[in-house]
Symmetry: C2
Subunit: 129 residues, 2 copies
DNA sequence: TTAAGTGTATTATTTAAATTAGTACAGTTG
DNA sequence: CAACTGTACTAATTTAAATAATACACTTAA
C-alpha cells in the first residue's frame, strides 16, 4: 500500500508522513480507523520502528491522527479549525507559495482552479463556510 | 539586510534562498540589478562562500537570478512562464498544500483572499492573464 | 492473571547530509 | 597587471537522520 523511495534525498519519515496524510485526506482511512501499529508497519516496510514513530508523532502534531498508549493510533476526525497553530502555519506557507507562483507567471485564475480541483479530491474536512 | 538564524533546524542555504527570493519578489532588488558577490555576502554573513554559492545555484535553478562568470549574479527579469519545469513543480506543491488546508478546515474563500493579499505584495511578474 | 499486543522513551551507534576550509582556474574590468 | 567575478574540486568537520537494542506502562483477550 505504501511505497517508499529509499534512494530519495527526502528523509523516510517525511515521505511516510506525506503518504499517510494523502491516504487520510482521500478517505482511504476512515475517521477513528486504526492505523497499522508502529512495529507492524516497520516490519512491512523493512525500516526501523523509531522512524515510524517519528512520522506518527509528526502526523499527530499536524492534527491528522491521535494515539492512545496501549491501544493504537487512529485517524482523527476533523472538527472545525481544530489546530489553530497549525492552521496559522499553513496559511503562512500558502501565502509564500502563492506569492512565488504569481511572481513566476501563474495567474490567480489558475490558482483558483487548483483550489477547486483540490476540493473535489479531498473529501474530508467539515463543510465550514 | 539579511539575517540568518544559525540555531534553526532549517539549513542555512535554504534560509538564504528564501530570504533573497522574498527581496526579489518585493522589488527590493530591481531586474538586472547585481547581487552581492559570493565572497562579499559570505564575509558579511560570516558563513562559507560555498554555502552562498549553493543558495545562488538554487535561485538560478528556480528562475530568480542569472549568473555571468567573471561579472556577477543578477536579478532575472520575469518573462511569461519562463521556467516550465519549475512552474509545474510549483503547481504540484500548491495542490498538495491547498488540499491540506481545505482538509484542516480552511475555506476556499480564505485561500482566495490569500491569493489577493499575495497579488498586492508581489509587484513583480508579468501581468499575463 | 498472564501473554501478547499497543505507544512511548532512552541511550548508543552508524550512516548520510550540511557546512566549513583551502585551493584552483578562467573570465571581466579598470 | 591587479583585483575582482563565478565556478569547481577535494578533504575535513559538524550536524541530522536512521538504526539498534532495551525498557516501561497501558490494553486486551485468552
Amino acid at each position: 500500500m505504501i511505497v517508499l523511495d529509499i534512494k530519495s534525498r527526502k528523509p523516510i519519515y517525511e515521505q511516510l508522513t506525506e503518504k499517510i496524510k494523502e491516504l487520510i485526506m482521500h478517505d482511504v482511512f476512515q475517521p477513528d480507523e486504526q492505523l497499522p501499529s508502529v512495529r507492524q508497519l516497520a516490519g512491512e516496510l523493512a525500516i526501523n520502528p523509531n522512524t515510524i514513530q517519528k512520522a506518527y508523532r509528526e502526523l499527530e502534531r499536524e492534527g491528522f491522527i491521535y494515539s492512545l498508549p496501549g491501544k493504537g493510533s487512529f485517524v482523527k476526525e476533523q472538527t472545525s479549525m481544530a489546530n489553530k497553530q497549525r492552521v496559522e502555519q499553513l496559511k503562512n506557507e500558502l501565502l509564500a507559495l502563492i506569492s512565488e507562483a504569481l511572481y513566476l507567471g501563474i495567474s490567480k485564475k489558475e490558482i483558483t482552479e487548483l483550489a477547486e480541483k483540490a476540493e473535489q479530491s479531498v473529501k474530508g474536512g467539515k463543510g465550514i463556510d
